[in-house]
């Protein structure tokens, strides 16, 4: 085993992040070069979902606890940025329930993004403080109940959210590249978190909660940290969603979006960052391909066309099939491996594989 230079060591360490960043960069550059506005919007929308899925992954992937109610933090982020960036004149008439300083505020988009995501994180933090002591099943259901509660409140809080009507007029500064940069930031946050001591402690509790406790991991605190960070990242996704579409409806943040984002994470493989990213790419690509097929493709002189609505049925069946044949997801919990040279030597790791090999040989005898 030749000695590794410090640069190679760092490269290897951050390769799982760098490789994913590279894949996204290639997609974005190719789509940008194609010049198709429609494709660019599809990719931007996919990248926003990616941010949300990576946010859900931060809690769900590292803790192993199903988070069923994360979309509410997207909604909180999206509405918060609307409150801070809409024209004061517009807010005075449409959202009279807002406090005075918010009505007058018209913040810089970046400041507004950070504040809105912080609000989402704060709400996630308060909920996490309350619920993270109970058992995993109860936690998942409580996150869902909290989402349902938030949804019902926003849906009826006419003076602040316009209730079931749409808020329009958010500054639309978000395009594919803006989302791409934020996706990089968010993936870096997720990766640095997962290799930090906090992430490792939480992952230990995912594998074996009792053993992790015995090693001094405070599972409660670690879950609260992860859920808060997750709320922050999902909140960023919500903010970008708002400024990408320029229009907000409470109804968009409900079961449909919960389903599609969770499906992306689980189909990709919920236990690794690569799983989260690959899941988003695969499902976004599949959806787009089927959508194109619905429009029809000419092969020779015959027009091949799927009947309208078949797209969703195939997509659902496809997801079900992946669940059945690859229950751990496409990536099976692994990150993208370092392509140059042998796997990173871990002290004791190699001898242990030898031991198990020997053990297997003995039982074989």
């Amino acid at each position: 085993m030749q000695a590794m230079g410090p640069i190679e060591k760092q490269l290897r360490r951050f390769w799982p992040f760098a490789s994913l960043a590279l894949i996204l960069l290639i997609i974005v550059v190719v789509v940008d070069a194609s010049g198709s506005i429609l494709m660019q919007r599809t990719v931007a929308d996919g990248l926003i979902k990616l941010i949300v899925v990576v946010g859900i992954y931060i809690f769900m992937g590292n803790s192993g606890v199903l988070s069923f109610g994360s979309i509410v933090y997207m909604m909180i982020g999206a509405y918060a940025t609307a409150w801070m960036t809409l024209l004061p004149n517009l807010k005075r008439f449409t959202l009279p329930g807002l406090p005075g300083f918010l009505i007058e505020a018209q913040l810089d988009p970046f400041v507004s993004l950070i504040l809105a995501a912080l609000l989402a994180a704060a709400v996630a933090f308060v909920l996490a403080l309350a619920i993270m002591r109970t058992n995993p099943i109860a936690i998942s259901i409580a996150t869902f109940a909290a989402m349902a509660m938030g949804y019902t409140i926003y849906n009826n809080w006419e003076r602040v959210t316009l209730g079931t009507s749409s808020i329009i007029g958010l500054p639309m500064y978000v395009d594919m590249w803006v989302v791409f940069y934020w996706a990089l930031v968010v993936m870096a946050i997720a990766y640095i978190y997962q290799i930090s001591r906090f992430g490792l402690a939480l992952r230990a509790s995912r594998e074996d909660e009792v053993a992790a406790r015995a090693f001094g991991v405070n599972v409660y605190i670690q879950r609260v940290i992860a859920f808060t960070l997750s709320g922050f990242v999902v909140g960023i996704g919500g903010v970008l969603h708002g400024h990408f579409l320029g229009i907000l409806t409470v109804n968009a943040f409900w079961i449909q979006l919960t389903f599609i984002t969770l499906a992306m994470l689980v189909v990709g493989g919920q236990n690794s960052l690569a799983g989260a990213v690959v899941g988003v790419i695969v499902i976004t690509a599949a959806t787009e391909i089927f959508r194109q097929m619905e429009k029809g493709a000419e092969i020779g002189s015959t027009l091949i066309q799927l009947p309208l609505g078949v797209q969703e049925v195939i997509l659902g069946v496809l997801m079900l099939a992946i669940m059945i044949f690859r229950p751990a997801g496409i990536m099976g919990g692994r990150e993208i491996p370092w392509p140059f040279g042998p796997p990173k030597p871990i002290r004791g790791g190699r001898s242990r594989t030898l031991e198990t090999g020997a053990g297997k040989a003995r039982t074989g005898d």
Partner: protein, 304 residues
């Protein structure tokens, strides 16, 4: 006094619907740890089966015109078959999968069902008149009550009673309760997993069919997402009652029905629409302070 009685009947009939749905979901959740979102689609399919499969804007009743004596068994059989097929195709290959995979699978099934409905019937809501005579009000000890509310209460009492007898008195019933409380141990003691699970899906199909008939008679409108809200509330009810306890699921349904009606009456007009938010908040409190549910069965207590 009559006012209170009127509200009590509202509460109990709403509770009956929640309770029947909660039982269908609780049965599956207790055994498989599967939050079956497709249960709502069982209900939807039961209602859509009443009309001729067509994209036409105006729905033509098909099974819906049959006399009740044939109509009810027909709808029940259709939904049971759908439930069993779902189990066989989608959930059986996923035995032993974790909760997230199961949830996604049930979402996927629900997604497929909803879009098949859109494919056949289109996504537009459709009006359908079934059991118009039941929508009429009848005089009842000085109250004017829609007959369908009494039917709902009657159906709930009959089905809950029948199910209780089945669960207490028959061998399959005992096996099913054992499976709902501790599936692994039950299997070790010789309970056949596939039989019990198939039976659970059949019963949840039966419950869904009855709920769909009551629901469609009350609302008269078909839409492909008509039962989403009902399923969410019912799922929440099973949690309030105590996960894994079938009695708890039924009781939780009634409790949530009573709670919703009470909130609807007590809350000022501006807040009436947010009554569900209070129910959801209540669930979070239950999960924090009594994660085993409000109604603790003897079995759960002994297991600790």
């Amino acid at each position: 006094m009559t006012f209170v009685l009127q509200i009590a009947i509202d509460a109990i009939s709403l509770g009956s619907m929640y309770s029947l749905t909660a039982l269908g979901i609780g049965l599956i959740f207790g055994i498989l740890r599967l939050i079956n979102f497709a249960h709502g689609d069982f209900i939807t399919i039961g209602a859509y089966a009443l009309i001729v499969p067509a994209a036409a804007v105006v729905a033509t009743p098909f099974i819906g015109t049959w006399p009740a004596f044939f109509l009810i068994p027909a709808i029940i059989s259709i939904v049971i078959v759908i439930a069993l097929l779902t189990e066989f195709i989608a959930f059986r290959p996923l035995r032993g999968a974790n909760m997230a995979s199961l949830l996604i699978a049930s979402f996927a099934v629900s997604y497929v069902f909803q879009h098949i409905i859109i494919l056949i019937y289109t996504g537009r809501p459709k009006a359908v008149n079934v059991g118009i005579e039941l929508a009429q009000h009848i005089e009842f000890v000085g109250l004017r009550v829609p007959a369908i509310q009494l039917v709902a209460i009657g159906a709930a009492i009959t089905l809950l009673g029948g199910l209780a007898l089945f669960l207490k008195r028959t061998a399959y019933g005992v096996q099913m309760r054992a499976a709902a409380e501790d599936f692994e141990t039950a299997r070790l003691l010789g309970v056949r997993a596939n039989t019990v699970i198939a039976l659970a899906f059949a019963i949840s199909g039966l419950l869904a069919a009855v709920v769909s008939l009551i629901f469609i008679t009350q609302t008269g409108v078909l839409s492909f997402r008509m039962s989403l809200n009902l399923v969410i509330i019912a799922f929440i009810s099973t949690v309030i009652g105590g996960m894994g306890s079938l009695f708890g699921a039924a009781a939780g349904g009634f409790l949530v029905g009573v709670m919703s009606t009470a909130l609807q009456t007590v809350l000022p007009d501006d807040y009436k629409l947010t009554r569900d938010a209070f129910v959801f908040g209540f669930v979070i409190l239950v999960l924090i302070f009594r994660p085993q549910g409000l109604i603790v069965t003897k079995a759960v207590r002994e297991r600790v």
